[in-house]
Symmetry: C2
Subunit: 303 residues, 2 copies
């Protein structure tokens, strides 16, 4: 009997949804605008998920959200972008949908999906590194994601030594030089020229434009520092680079690989691989989480 | 029926052994010199373990060794101090003792023991940080230690930005300023005065001696940098500080706690706790590993 699973990823601007079967085939993909932050954001998100669940009937539902997420307790602890705090999403979703809903974190869900289906297939230990508006990280070991009650994964806010202040209050944060937004912002600050994003800067790097190259090199330097630490302490076999910046592929992964090889001495050098699932990693991971959670409930049958 | 478990920790200079029962009571502790590095080191270590197993009869045996240890394959991949490479210890020990022997890594075994019995009891996520001749780390989550095929845990060789070269070939390694040996060595280099070790330097810090204070502050600064990274990326609830330097207790943990609080912004600040098991953490952990391994063998009964 075919089991259908709905995975929903409530993102900062778009909510992405995938309907898959338990063999992993993707039957349907949808994207909707995420409700705007405001006093009604939580009921609006619940309505949106309920609507999607109604349009795309399934046996199991998994929902991923950003921010600090406490999976064991099923709570969205904090999201700066969506403006909520301490929301018991797992319970609220179960009430709204009249059945259990697996609740998880967008980046950790994406990591699970890239591990099961994408750039990290077959690795015992993998680091997922999405580089977009911000930078996050998730460590997968033997198929489990390290969550630390929701607080793990802030590789974007480690001090890589560039000395510039970060809006978080810290200094030298990786995100300030190496996120896709930072690359675009720093290029504009240095040249006065507006760009459409980091991919524009990447094009100018390929064309050999000096200001673009220096901004890019500083981003790579920061990422090499962060990955060298990670290689020493966590020693992932593979680092799967995702998010908007992963579109730069060779321009990013080649200098990162070279920089890491030059920096590491006796530590295991991770293989760097591009993410495969793109913007669907989060909702694919939410669906996987729904399947995994379901299989942990003894006595409950699908369908 | 009482089940007896022997835990052996083959250290750089001493091999420590504990006989415990399955309720955790310590029945016997022994220490022997570890065989000297040389062409016969491996058979000599096997003889030593066999001898201990004969003197202290037990139902299960666990053995921990230093260096890079691949637990899933049961191989001592590399030990610089003891001078071995790619030794299939699990198989060799099983042949020598005519029964299965649990094989593990000294620091990861110590982490398990501190988590189960020592400074990390009750924490879902714990970092073990032994600071002695060198500095290592081990991450425990839900009772499992992150091993990454034996390559994890090199927090002693992350670049904390002091710019000095490390014998490993890297620059700025934490170990160069913050290990117990480094503190003693740097104090002597700065003052020309020989000291018995970092504990001597700690005494001079308490007496307000300026050179000692500056060496100590540099060590603390490096450790704060390393722990701030760890707090962001791994977010352990508690960091258990072990090894020789943990004897300095307040002199170390107080400024570390203050430094971390000042450095972190939104990240979860870990509680810092002194290790409880001292030099026995490794052999206690080897015994725990023997019990855990045993419980995974279906159908095999103890005793």
């Amino acid at each position: 009997m075919l089991v259908l699973v709905l995975g929903v990823d409530v993102g900062g601007t778009a909510t992405k949804t995938v309907l898959v079967d338990d063999a992993g085939a993707v039957l349907e993909v949808r994207s909707r605008p995420t409700p705007r932050p405001g006093p009604e954001i939580v009921p609006e998100v619940l309505d949106l998920v309920a609507e999607l669940a109604c349009e795309l009937p399934s046996d199991h539902v998994g929902v991923a959200v950003p921010g600090i997420v406490d999976e064991p307790r099923g709570v969205g602890v904090f999201s700066k972008n969506l403006g909520w705090q301490d929301v018991p999403f797992a319970d609220l979703l179960a009430d709204r949908l009249c059945r259990p809903v697996a609740f998880t974190h967008d980046v950790r869900a994406g990591a699970l999906a890239e591990h099961a289906l994408g750039g990290g297939v077959g690795a015992r230990t993998m680091l997922f590194l999405p580089i977009g508006t911000g930078i996050a990280s998730a460590l997968v070991t033997d198929g489990r994601v390290h969550d630390a009650d929701g607080y793990a994964g802030e590789l974007g806010h480690v001090d890589v030594g560039h000395g510039e202040p970060c809006p978080c209050g810290g200094t030298g944060c990786l995100e300030v030089v190496a996120s896709a937004s930072a690359i675009a912002r720093r290029y504009t600050a240095r040249t006065g020229r507006e760009v459409g994003g980091a991919v524009d800067v990447a094009r100018r790097v390929e064309a050999g434009e000096r200001a673009a190259v220096s901004v890019w090199d500083e981003a790579v330097e920061g990422l090499v520092t962060a990955l060298a630490w990670t290689a020493g302490v966590l020693a992932p076999e593979v680092v799967v680079v995702g998010g908007g910046l992963s579109g730069a592929k060779g321009l990013l992964l080649k200098p990162l690989t070279e920089g890491l090889s030059a920096r590491l001495t006796f530590q295991r050098t991770p293989r760097l691989a591009p993410a495969v699932l793109g913007g669907l990693a989060g909702c694919r991971g939410a669906a996987l989480t729904a399947i995994a959670t379901q299989s942990q409930v003894p006595g409950r049958r699908a369908g």
